[in-house]
């Protein structure tokens, strides 16, 4: 089974009153998520909280049968593995929940969130994102962004890189996709082979605006995940801390081998987690 060493940290930063970021670090499910909420008053905090709670719930409450039958039936098969579809269905569900909550309450109108998630299955990992919270992979000393930024700037770059250079940097935070803004959302997803010593980093723009990918790479290479998180948050704060700062660092210590049917490892992990929930233990008696 795959083994990772992970740590995560979220910090309000130096300018904001509240923390609109939220994160999941679940070493049992091998699920790691950062959500960056936005919206007036407390709405941003509510949105990101709904996102992490919904995704965690949807994965906890899933067994193989129900996945096949229910939650993924609306996801068209795009050559995705069952685990990838499960993660997507969790993201879709989160979108649904935030969208409904924002319509139900006046103070929550227009709220939304980004979501960037990694989940490990046997010998690969799945990366999915909506919005602009980056996911980096460090493999053999090279850092690569493996999420797709859904911003106006990035889309302009895709259309015409030269013109995008003239684009003022202040437009870089305009999202073209976010969780909870529309009835449906399309996450970008990919599945990547994992290797021992690979490092994955998920963060909110509070970090990526202040610290370059190369600086992140150099720090996580030499420090243990926990220390690296602290050092990165400190660095962003020293440079102004204009936004909430959240970072998760995951180091792969051992890669898993594919079992009989790929997905089974993931489900047995879910079963293990379920067995540890007190309620389930009572049922067993």
């Amino acid at each position: 089974m795959i083994a990772v060493n992970s740590a995560g940290l979220t910090d309000v930063g130096k300018k904001r009153k509240g923390n609109e970021d939220a994160l999941i670090i679940d070493d049992k499910l091998k699920l790691y998520v950062v959500a960056d909420g936005m919206g007036g008053h407390l709405a941003g905090e509510i949105a990101s909280k709904i996102v992490v709670d919904t995704i965690l719930d949807s994965l906890h409450n899933t067994d193989e049968q129900s996945v096949k039958a229910e939650s993924i039936k609306d996801i068209k098969d795009d050559g995705l593995s069952p685990a990838a579809r499960m993660l997507l269905s969790g993201i879709n569900l989160a979108n649904h929940e935030v969208f409904n909550a924002s319509r139900a309450k006046e103070s929550c109108r227009g709220m939304g969130a980004t979501v960037s998630a990694i989940c490990f299955i046997d010998e690969t990992f799945i990366v999915a994102n909506v919005g602009d919270s980056p996911i980096y992979m460090i493999h053999k000393g090279e850092i690569e962004t493996i999420s797709v930024p859904h911003t106006l700037l990035a889309e302009q770059e895709a259309i015409d890189p030269d013109k995008a250079k003239q684009f003022e940097s202040r437009y870089k935070h305009i999202l073209t996709r976010a969780i909870g803004v529309k009835e449906n959302v399309q996450a970008d997803i990919c599945e990547i082979q994992s290797f021992k010593n690979d490092i994955l980093v998920i963060c909110s723009d509070g970090l990526s605006d202040k610290v370059s990918p190369e600086e992140i790479r150099d720090l996580v290479k030499i420090k243990a995940p926990e220390e690296a998180c602290q050092a990165l948050v400190e660095l962003a704060n020293n440079r102004g801390g204009d936004d909430n700062i959240t970072v998760i660092v995951i180091k792969i210590i051992k890669t898993g081998k594919k079992k009989e049917s790929g997905i089974s490892g993931f489900f047995s992990r879910i079963a293990n987690v379920l067995a540890n929930i007190p309620l389930m233990q009572t049922f067993k008696k």
């Binding site: 493996i146 013109k163 305009i174 803004v181 082979q193 594919k258």
Partner: protein, 235 residues
């Protein structure tokens, strides 16, 4: 809410109210919200999106450009009394007297915002018919042509494609010392990457063994087990 007044020389032709929920497209074609019937104007020339409390004007790579107060722009956050020049026409962006205006839109922009245009995607797609967008980011599908199987072509449409000896692989490739799953090819934002998974015999790309993973370039020759294949793109 502010209005947009279309003028030709000194004459006002039409007034367009702007709204938080609306997105306005400007161009020569009839499908635009603001139609300017002049050859100097591109089919889909520019658009205005409601973003946060303000309005963002974006030039859609028009042939003759979009000008604000005499300067050519790519995108511009509209402020009161801005004059947008498109060809010989002008559009005046103005708030009504006494209407609240966003205070400092530039500062607001530092915050992350969601483009509150439900129609944004559709607009991007509608604008694509000008073919500039479509041409440049045309999605190319990657293929493997398998020499050992009569040049059979396999489209790499899955996020991850598994290749190896075992029957549950997407591409079955036997051979002595070849892994059950010898290699995977995954589709990442940066391109296609081939990774070694298991087996005594490592996959090779252009003759050199892959110990971990390598990005595939068009026309790379991949050998896995007894099979040889070529990686290429098709539109």
């Amino acid at each position: 809410m502010p209005t947009l007044t279309l003028k030709f020389k000194e004459n006002s032709i039409k007034e367009f109210p702007l709204d938080k929920e609306t997105n306005i497209s400007i161009g020569r074609h009839n499908e635009n919200d603001v139609v300017i019937n002049n050859l100097a104007v591109s089919g889909y020339h520019a658009k205005i999106d409601s973003i946060g409390n303000g309005f963002l004007l974006t030039d859609l790579q028009s042939k003759n450009g979009t000008f604000i107060n005499g300067k050519t722009i790519n995108s511009h956050y509209l402020t009161h009394n801005d004059t947008i020049i498109i060809g010989k026409h002008s559009l005046i962006f103005a708030y009504k007297a006494g209407e609240s205006r966003p205070k400092n839109t530039a500062a607001d922009m530092d915050q992350t915002m969601i483009l509150d245009t439900g129609k944004y995607k559709e607009m991007m797609e509608q604008n694509a018919p000008e073919k500039r967008i479509a041409k440049k980011v045309k999605i190319k599908e990657a293929y493997l042509s398998i020499f050992s199987k009569d040049n059979e072509e396999v489209c790499l449409s899955k996020k991850i494609t598994r290749i190896g000896k075992a029957s549950d692989n997407d591409i079955i490739m036997g051979g002595l010392l070849t892994g059950k799953t010898a290699a995977t090819i995954s589709k990442r934002p940066g391109g296609y990457f081939l990774s070694y998974v298991d087996g005594m015999k490592k996959p090779k790309v252009n003759g050199s063994a892959v110990t971990e993973s390598v990005q595939l370039k068009e026309f790379d020759i991949i050998s896995i087990g007894s099979g040889k294949m070529q990686f290429s793109y098709k539109e």
